[in-house]
Amino acid sequence: MTCSARILVTSGWLAALGLQAAEAGKTLRLRLLLAAAIAFGAVFLILKGTEYANLFRQGIGTETHAFYTFSFLLTGFHAAHVLAGMILLALVGWLATPKAVEAGAAFWHMVDLVWVLLFPVVYLL
């Protein structure tokens, strides 16, 4: 479970380096870094999908208990934002302007930030 937090903060690091590359006018480096950030996002979603599949196999769903209703809602909405962030990073990587990359990276960092706060509430406490 904690693996997912490490994946997202590493992805955020790649996006931050991507912004530096955009500001330096290094388009190829920018696109490679954002592609790596997107790949980490995809790994995060695969982990989420695996976790959901395991819960469903055990007969656990959104109506099993109030905890799972909130857990699925919170992590599901977060996963939707991860997917949106991946699309956004691909778009700003294509545009490759510092302003666009800054906006895309800011969205990605907020997705990262929300997970850092959500994770202990859903999984640890």
Binding site: L17, A106, L124
Partner: protein, 81 residues
């Protein structure tokens, strides 16, 4: 080492500390409070170094205040049940 890379190292170290605490067998306030504090620290690092709020200290202080209130709310709810 760039600021972003130092931030990543801090975030990974804080995550490792959270994992160690969760696996330590601690319970109640002894687990809840440090885990939430570590989360707040991670959020602060993301805001300061990834989002670049180090160049806007007023905004960083404002976000830190919001984070502190959120963490205190989570702690209150976790300890109340």
């Amino acid at each position: 080492m760039t600021r972003a890379t130092k931030a990543l190292a801090s975030l990974l170290a804080l995550s490792a500390a959270s994992t160690a605490l969760a696996a330590s067998g601690l319970a109640g306030a002894a687990l809840t409070l440090p885990i939430l504090m570590l989360s707040g620290l991670k959020a602060h690092v993301i805001l300061r170094d990834y989002l670049g709020l180090r160049i806007a200290p007023g905004w960083l202080r404002g976000f830190d205040l919001g984070l502190t209130l959120l963490i205190l709310t989570f702690a209150g709810l976790a300890l109340a049940v």
